[in-house]
C-alpha cells in the first residue's frame, strides 16, 4: 500500500476520477467508442496502438481499458500481457474488442490474460455502455474503499500513543499498527495470528484474565481496564485498555477491537506525585512531632521555670524567716554582753574587757548582716508592674534618711530633673539611699559631691549617681553587686557588702539594669535603668 497524500490535502474526500483507456488502430472505431461511452467516465484517453496504450498506462491510472485485439504491431493479447506484468496496471479490468464472434474467440486465453469481458464487433452501444459503466462504478468504489482504508490506516498509525489492533473472536491478533509495534514491541509479522494473551504478564494469564476481558467485552459491549502488560522484551508497562466487540450487521461476532494506551509515564508521574505527597505527609508528621516535642520541651521549661520561681520564693521566704528568727538571739547576745560589760567591767582584767568588746562588735556585725539579708530577701518579694512613682520624691526621702551622714560629711547632694518611673516607692527610696550613702561613705579627702540625674533611654529612664569619691578598680566591679562581698576592711569602711546587691535586686526586679563606671581616684558613677511610665509593665 502506498500513501496518496493528495486526497488528504482537501477539506473533504473528493470522488475518485474515472478514466477510460480506449485502444484501437482504427480512428473511426475510437470515435465511435467515445460517442457511445460519453458520460460514463469523466475522461477518455485514446491510444492507436498497443505501444501507445502501454505508454499511456505509464503516465496515468485507468478505471477500465477497452482493448482491440487485432492491431498492427503489438496486438491486443500481447498488450494485455504487458499490462498484466506491470504492478501498477495489473488490476485494471480489460474489455477486449473483437470482430470474431462465437467459437472463434479464444475465450480462455483472453480470461487468462485478465480480461473481464469481451465485446464483439459490431458493437451494440447499450451493451457497451452498460458493461463499461459497471466496471467504472466498480473501479470508483474500489478506489473509494482503498482510500478509506488508507485513511483509516493513517489515522490508526497517526495515533501514536494508542496501540490499535483487531482480534478474531477467539482472541488471535488480526491487525497490527506501528503504534502497537512501538508500544508492545512486536512487529506485525511476529504477532499477527498469535493469541493476544501473549501481551499479558504470566500471573494475569494464569488467572485467565485475557479471556475474561473478551467475555466481558462481548457481554457488555465495551470493556475498559488498567493494568500491567508485557512487552516483547519482557518489560512491563501500565496500560489503559479498551476492548470492543465487532459485529456484522446481523449481530454475529466478527472479532474485537483493542485499543491500548501506555500510561506508564502517567503512572510514574502519579507515583511521583503520590511519593511527593507521602514525603510531604512524612515531613508534616515530623514537623508535627517536632512541634509537639518543642511544646513538651516548653512545658518542661515552663515547669522548670515555675519550679525555679517557687524554689526562689521558698528560698526568699527561708532567708526572710531565718534572718527574722536570727535577729532575736543575736539581739540577746548583744544586749546581755552589754549588760555584762556595764555591770562587771571593773571585775574583769583588760583582756576580759577586750573579749567582751569583741563579742559586742561581732554581735553588732551579725545583726547588720541579718538586717541586710532581710532587706535583700524583701527586695526580691516585691512584684513588678507598679503604679508610677515620682523618683524626685523618692530622692528627697532618701536625702532625709541620710541627713545625718550628709551633715557630718558636709556632702553636697543634688538632683537634676527626675522623672516618674514604674517601681515600688519604698524600694526606690532604698535604692537612692544605698547609692548616695555609698557615695558619701567612700569619700576621698574632700567633702563628697553627689549628683543624681536621669535621661530617657528607650522605654526606660537611665539614672546616674555620680560622686567624687575614692573610686573602684575595674577588676572589682563585678564583685560589687554580689551579696556579702565587701571590698574594704571593716575597720576602714564598716559595712556588710550587701547594699549594691540589694540595689541590683531592686532594679532587676523592675526589668532594669545596673552597672558602674569607676576608677581609683576618679570617682564613681553608678547607672541604672527603670521602666518609664508607659514603658514595659
Amino acid at each position: 500500500m502506498q500513501a496518496t497524500p493528495a486526497f488528504l490535502s482537501g477539506p473533504g474526500l473528493p470522488l475518485p476520477q474515472a478514466r477510460l483507456l480506449l485502444v484501437d488502430d482504427e480512428p473511426a472505431n475510437l470515435l465511435a467508442l467515445e460517442s457511445v461511452l460519453d458520460g460514463v467516465a469523466q475522461e477518455m484517453v485514446r491510444a492507436d496502438s498497443g505501444e501507445d496504450a502501454l505508454r499511456r498506462l505509464l503516465a496515468q491510472d485507468f478505471a477500465v481499458i477497452l482493448l482491440d485485439i487485432r492491431m498492427p504491431g503489438m496486438d491486443g493479447f500481447e498488450t494485455a500481457k504487458h499490462i498484466r506484468r506491470r504492478e501498477r496496471s495489473r488490476h485494471i479490468p480489460i474489455i477486449f474488442l473483437t470482430a470474431r464472434a462465437g467459437d472463434d474467440f479464444p475465450v480462455r486465453e483472453a480470461y487468462d490474460l485478465g480480461a473481464v469481458d469481451y465485446l464483439v464487433k459490431p458493437l451494440v452501444p447499450e451493451i457497451v455502455r452498460a458493461k463499461v459503466a459497471v466496471l467504472v462504478e466498480l473501479s470508483v468504489q474500489k478506489e473509494k474503499a482503498r482510500r478509506q482504508a488508507e485513511l483509516l490506516r493513517l489515522l490508526i498509525e497517526g495515533t501514536g500513543d494508542y496501540a490499535i489492533f483487531m482480534l478474531d473472536p477467539q482472541g488471535h491478533v488480526v491487525t497490527w499498527s506501528t503504534a502497537a509495534e512501538r508500544i508492545e514491541g512486536y512487529r506485525a509479522e511476529e504477532i499477527i495470528g498469535q493469541h493476544f494473551s501473549r501481551l499479558y504478564p504470566p500471573e494475569a494469564v494464569e488467572r485467565g484474565w485475557p479471556a475474561e476481558e473478551l467475555r466481558r467485552a462481548e457481554a457488555v459491549g465495551r470493556f475498559e481496564d488498567e493494568g500491567w502488560r508485557l512487552r516483547k522484551d519482557g518489560s512491563r508497562f501500565w496500560a489503559n485498555v479498551v476492548i470492543s466487540p465487532l459485529r456484522d450487521p446481523a449481530g454475529r461476532l466478527m472479532g474485537f477491537s483493542k485499543i491500548s494506551r501506555d500510561l506508564t509515564e502517567r503512572m510514574h508521574a502519579e507515583e511521583e506525585v503520590r511519593s511527593h505527597r507521602d514525603r510531604l505527609a512524612q515531613a508534616n508528621e515530623l514537623l508535627q512531632a517536632e512541634v509537639e516535642e518543642r511544646k513538651r520541651a516548653e512545658d518542661r521549661l515552663r515547669r522548670t521555670a515555675e519550679d525555679l520561681a517557687r524554689s526562689n520564693r521558698d528560698l526568699e521566704q527561708f532567708a526572710y524567716a531565718a534572718s527574722h528568727d536570727l535577729q532575736e538571739p543575736v539581739r540577746m547576745v548583744s544586749l546581755y554582753t552589754q549588760l555584762l560589760q556595764r555591770h562587771y567591767h571593773g571585775q574583769l582584767d583588760a583582756r576580759g574587757n577586750q573579749y567582751i568588746a569583741r563579742v559586742i562588735d561581732g554581735a553588732g556585725h551579725m545583726q547588720a548582716l541579718i538586717k541586710g539579708l532581710l532587706a535583700y530577701a524583701r527586695a526580691g518579694t516585691v512584684v513588678k508592674g507598679h503604679e508610677p512613682v515620682d523618683s524626685r520624691a523618692a530622692f528627697d526621702r532618701a536625702l532625709a534618711h541620710l541627713a545625718e551622714a550628709i551633715r557630718e560629711s558636709q556632702a553636697e547632694v543634688s538632683g537634676g530633673d527626675l522623672p516618674s518611673v514604674r517601681a515600688d516607692g519604698t524600694q526606690l527610696v532604698q535604692l537612692f539611699q544605698n547609692l548616695i550613702g555609698n557615695a558619701i561613705k567612700f569619700r576621698a579627702g574632700q567633702p563628697p559631691r553627689v549628683r543624681v540625674e536621669a535621661e530617657p533611654d528607650g522605654e526606660f529612664w537611665r539614672f546616674q549617681v555620680r560622686d567624687n569619691g575614692i573610686g573602684i578598680d575595674e577588676r572589682y566591679h563585678d564583685r560589687l553587686f554580689v551579696i556579702f562581698q565587701p571590698l574594704h576592711d571593716r575597720q576602714e569602711y564598716p559595712g556588710t557588702g550587701i547594699g549594691l546587691a540589694i540595689c541590683k535586686r531592686i532594679v532587676e526586679r523592675q526589668g532594669g539594669r545596673i552597672w558602674l563606671q569607676s576608677a581609683p581616684g576618679r570617682g564613681t558613677t553608678v547607672f541604672f535603668t527603670l521602666p518609664a511610665v508607659g514603658g514595659p509593665q
Binding site: 526572710y320 527574722h324 528568727d325 535577729q327 532575736e328 543575736v330 539581739r331 540577746m332 548583744s334 544586749l335 546581755y336 552589754q338 549588760l339 556595764r342 554581735a363 553588732g364 545583726q367 532581710l374 524583701r378 519604698t426
Partner: protein
C-alpha cells in the same frame, strides 16, 4: 464604778517567750517608782487564757495594757490581737507590740488590728533601756488608760474591778 488605774497598781500583761527579754522588761519597769504588777504569758494561747480568765487564771485581773511580742509559740501575736479585737471587752485594752521585726508587713498588720503602738526591740542596750523607759513613763504616767471593766459583758458589773 470604774476606777482610775492610778488608784492602784497598774496591771501589765507581758506576752513574751524569750526569758532574756522578759528580764530586761522587768528590770526596765522596776527602775520606775510607779506601782505596777507585771504578769507574763509565755505564748499566745496562755495570753488569751489569761485575758479571758480561764483555768488557772480565773483569779487574774484584766490588765490595764498589754505588751505583746509577735513571734510566739502556739499562737502568734497577730492572732492574739485578732481575738482580742473580736472581744467586746478585750478590744479596749491598749496593746503595745514589742517586736524584733521591723518588716513593713508586720507593722502594717499590727496597726490594721488597731494596736496602740508598734515598737521594735533595739539591740543596743542603752537604746533598749531608753525605749522601755519611754514606754513605762508614757503608759504609767502620761496616758489616760480606759476604766476597768468586767470581762463578761461591758457594764454588766460596774464594780467589777476584780475578776471572777
Amino acid at each position: 464604778m470604774a476606777a482610775d488605774s492610778r488608784d492602784r497598781a497598774v496591771e501589765i500583761l507581758l506576752v513574751e517567750d524569750n526569758p532574756g527579754d522578759v528580764e530586761l522588761v522587768q528590770e526596765a519597769l522596776a527602775e520606775g517608782a510607779i506601782a505596777h504588777s507585771l504578769s507574763v504569758a509565755r505564748d499566745g494561747v496562755e495570753a488569751l487564757a489569761y485575758l479571758r480568765g480561764e483555768g488557772k487564771y480565773a483569779d487574774a485581773l484584766l490588765p490595764d495594757f498589754v505588751l505583746l511580742d509577735l513571734k510566739l509559740p502556739k499562737k502568734g501575736g497577730l492572732e492574739v490581737l485578732e481575738e482580742m479585737k473580736a472581744d467586746e471587752v478585750l478590744r479596749r485594752i491598749p496593746v503595745i507590740v514589742l517586736s524584733s521585726s521591723d518588716a513593713p508587713d508586720d507593722v502594717l498588720s499590727a496597726y490594721d488590728l488597731q494596736v496602740s503602738c508598734y515598737v521594735t526591740k533595739p539591740a543596743d542596750l542603752e537604746e533598749f533601756e531608753r525605749v522601755m523607759r519611754t514606754i513605762r513613763d508614757f503608759t504609767l504616767t502620761v496616758v489616760k488608760l480606759p476604766p476597768r471593766e468586767a470581762r463578761s459583758s461591758a457594764g454588766a458589773n460596774p464594780d467589777g474591778a476584780r475578776l471572777g
